[in-house]
C-alpha cells in the first residue's frame, strides 16, 4: 500500500524519491542517456532501463521521443555541439602563432569544458557499428590532427615533422582517454614541463602553456 496520499489532488503524485514532483523533461532523459552512453557505451542505452531508473514506465519516454533512434540522434547532436564545435571554430583561423595555437587546441581537451573525453570515447566506440558515423568521426579526427599540424608548421617544423608530431600529440591524447588514466595533480604538475619538451620538441622552449584557470584538477598538462 502506498503511504499517505495527500487529501485533495495530491500535489505529489505517488512517490518519486526526490523533492517537489519535478516532472521529467526531454532534457532529463537525454542527460541520463548521455551518462549511460559515457559509462557503458551505446549498446547499454535502453529505453527500458532509463525508465526504470526514473521510476516511470516506458510510455513516458515515447511522449518525449519518437523512438530510440530519435534519442540516438540527439546524443550525437550533443557530441557535435560539445566535442566538435570547438575545433570547427578554429578551422578557418589564419595568421596563427604556433605555440599559442597549440596551447589553444590542447586546452580544449585539458579544460574539459565543454569537451567531454568520455563522450568522445563512447562515440568512437559507437562509430564502429555505423558506416556513416565512422566517417564523421574520422573527419573530426582529421580536422583535429590538421589543426595540430598547422601549429607545428607555424613553429617552424618541416612539413613531414609537423605531420608526425601532430599525430603523436593527437594519438597520445586519444590513448590517454582510452585508458581513463588518472593521476594526482601534484604528479601531473611535476611532469608537465617534461611533456611539453617531449611533445613540442627541440624547436620550442616554453610554449606558454598555462594551467587552465580554476580547473587544475582536470587535464594532463
Amino acid at each position: 500500500m502506498k503511504t499517505e496520499r495527500s487529501t485533495a489532488r495530491s500535489p505529489e503524485k505517488r512517490d518519486r524519491g526526490g523533492a517537489q514532483r519535478q516532472t521529467l523533461s526531454r532534457e532529463a532523459w537525454l542527460a541520463a542517456a548521455r551518462k549511460v552512453l559515457e559509462k557503458r557505451g551505446i549498446a547499454e542505452v535502453k529505453i527500458d532501463r532509463l525508465a526504470r531508473h526514473f521510476k516511470v514506465t516506458r510510455g513516458s519516454f515515447y511522449f518525449h521521443f519518437s523512438s530510440l533512434k530519435d534519442l540516438h540522434n540527439e546524443l550525437l547532436e550533443e557530441w557535435r555541439r560539445i566535442n566538435c564545435a570547438p575545433f570547427e571554430a578554429m578551422r578557418h583561423e589564419t595568421d596563427i602563432d604556433g605555440p599559442k595555437f597549440f596551447s589553444k587546441i590542447v586546452h580544449v581537451w585539458v579544460d574539459e569544458n565543454p569537451f567531454s573525453p568520455l563522450l568522445d570515447l563512447a562515440v568512437r566506440d559507437w562509430s564502429r557499428a555505423s558506416r556513416a558515423l565512422s566517417k564523421e568521426v574520422a573527419a573530426m579526427d582529421d580536422l583535429r590532427i590538421s589543426l595540430l599540424e598547422r601549429s607545428f608548421l607555424a613553429m617552424g617544423y618541416s612539413a613531414d615533422e609537423s605531420v608526425v608530431r601532430a599525430r603523436i600529440t593527437y594519438f597520445h591524447q586519444i590513448g590517454y582517454y582510452a585508458l581513463s588514466f588518472k593521476e594526482d595533480p601534484a604528479q601531473r604538475r611535476r611532469y608537465r614541463p617534461i611533456y611539453v619538451k617531449a611533445l613540442l620538441g627541440p624547436l620550442v622552449e616554453e610554449p606558454g602553456l598555462r594551467e587552465a584557470p580554476g580547473n587544475e584538477a582536470t587535464g594532463r598538462f
Copy 2:
C-alpha cells in the same frame, strides 16, 4: 547443388558451404566469435548470430560450450595468450640494452603477430562493463608502460623523463589503434625516422629499429 557426393554414407551432410563436411569444432566457434568481437564488440557476440552464420542451430553451440559465459572466458584466454603473454615474457628481463629493448617491445605491436590490435581494443571496450576485467586491463597497461619506461631509463633518461616518454609512446600506440589509422607503406617508411626521432628524443641516434622481416605491410614504424 553440391558437386560430387561420394557414393556410400555421404561424407558431407547436407550443404555446408565449404569443402568436405568439416564439422564445427569449439575452435571454429571461438574463431568466429573473436572476429565478431574484434569488429563489433562484445555486445554483438551472440550465440544466435554465430549459429546463423554457420547455418546450424544453437543446439550445436551448447554442445561445445556450456554457456555464453564459457565462450567469453575463452575469448579472454585468447587475449591473454596473444596480447599479454609477449609482454609478460619480458617482465623479468634484466641487464637490458635501451634501444634494443625498446625495439623489442615496439615490435610486438608492429609485427602484429601474434599480437592483435583489434582484439586489444575490443577487450578494452569490454572492460568498461566489468570491474574485474578493467583491473586486469589496467594491470596490463601498467606492465607495458613500465617496460617502455625501463628501456628509456637504460637509454640514459632521467626517471621522470623516462616515465613521460614511456607514456607518450604507449598512449600514442593505443590512440593509433583506437583510430584504426591506415596509411600506405611508402608514406609510413618516409615518416619512420621522424617518428623515431620524436619518440626516442635527443639521447638516441639510431635505435636499430628494423622493419619486421616479411611483414612490411603492418605496423607503423
